[in-house]
Amino acid sequence: MAMIAQVLISPLRHNKTGGSTVGQAQYGGRSVSEDDSKISDQTKQLLAVRDQRDKVAFAALFDYFAPRLKGVMMRSGCSSAQAEEVVQDVMLTVWRKASQFDPHRAQASAWIYQIGRNRHIDMLRKTNRPQPEELESMFEVEPDATQILALQQEAGQLKAAIQTLSHDQRDVIERAYLGELSHQEISTQTGLPLGTIKSRIRLGLERLRHELKGLR
């Protein structure tokens, strides 16, 4: 697995050293396909953290996510100092739990979102929120660039769908996902397009279901 992960992150490394063009280089006898080079920087960086414990990649993830995480925390009423306390906790959790990141199931932003929500709530309540069982067998699966890209494409479509929503709809759904609405409020909000979102990623869900069932 380490070998293949290396292939996935190699475009990142090449850019840093000003190396050859991504797309033709050979690593470990396997050619870097066009697909690999389209995988988002954040996913590649998180794989480098997971598989190589790469601190440079971690620093790049910090630069991207820390200001956004802080923005989300301050939206929900944290002071700057409190928000940074949560950011620190979330980013350390990202480093420590990176072995649980599975790029076939989650984009880097989705995985870090989930850690961010959990850590924020756990710190507020001083408890550990109940978490589903991890699917251990998932991590023995070799990274498959085609599948990772398919997920990325679905996220792109979902993002485009969210952008077509009216301002009010977008606002309410954003508040739901940033933890500002209770489940009662989510269920009674008229015009909350959870269904739209679900149907947009229906194909992705089918694929995920299929994949998860294969693990049982």
Binding site: G71, R75, A83, Q88, S109, R117, P132, I162, E174, G179
Partner: protein
């Protein structure tokens, strides 16, 4: 266990709230336990996380204090204690086994052969295990708030349908039901509410706070 047999799943508003961290611990335990048994809902949860991730990507960035990144990088090699991982134990999936602290439930008699084991009860709501003898009818009761009931073993049926292992029943103010455990084996459920149950004839209402039901 045949995973595809699950028919009654977590509704989207609860999954979205769980994804955002906005469910009480009692409801979150039921949701996490169901997801541990159900790949459909696990896939849906990933979709909700994906949506959350998109809003995180689009969130307004706030400047980070100068020293924070260096502080965090300096801590990467520090030893840390990994959170304990609780695996499934018998009929109890990981998150439930964690709530039980990997111990067998302590069952208390509730009457008519029904037993319960309260896992937590506070002002936000309660969560408990219920053990119902095979074929036993549980008295007609209604709900003040929301009640989630997840079947861990056996099955029950009521006015709204059949609930097998892994199925989740959502009860609200409108539901008055008389669940009956399936005939083959005792039915064990995980039930969470955000309000005390209103038993009609199970126990005098005045005693309810005493028994925390």
């Amino acid at each position: 266990m045949n995973m595809s047999a699950i028919k009654h799943h977590i509704p989207d508003h609860l999954l979205a709230a769980y994804s955002a961290g906005n469910l009480s611990d009692a409801f979150a335990l039921v949701v996490a336990t169901h997801i541990s048994m159900c790949s459909d809902c696990r896939a849906s949860l990933e979709a909700h996380h994906m949506t959350g991730g998109i809003f995180l990507e689009d969130a307004p960035a706030q400047d980070i204090s100068a020293g924070l990144k260096g502080d965090i990088l300096a801590q990467l090699d520090n030893p840390f204690r990994p959170e304990p991982v609780h695996e499934r134990r018998g009929i109890y999936p990981g998150p439930l086994n964690a709530a039980l602290k990997a111990q067998d439930p302590i069952w208390k008699k509730l009457g008519m052969g029904v037993h319960q084991s309260i896992l937590s009860a506070d002002s936000e709501g309660s969560v408990r295990l219920l053990w119902i003898p095979a074929g036993q009818k549980v008295p007609d009761h209604g709900h003040n708030g929301l009640e989630l009931t997840l079947v861990l073993q056996g099955s029950f049926s009521d006015e709204t349908g059949f609930y097998g292992t892994g199925d989740l029943e959502i009860g609200d103010e409108d539901l008055e039901h008389t669940p009956t455990a399936g005939p083959d084996m005792p039915c064990i459920c995980l039930a969470a509410t955000d309000a005390p149950l209103r038993f009609k004839d199970f126990m005098p209402r005045l005693l309810q706070p005493l028994f925390r039901i």
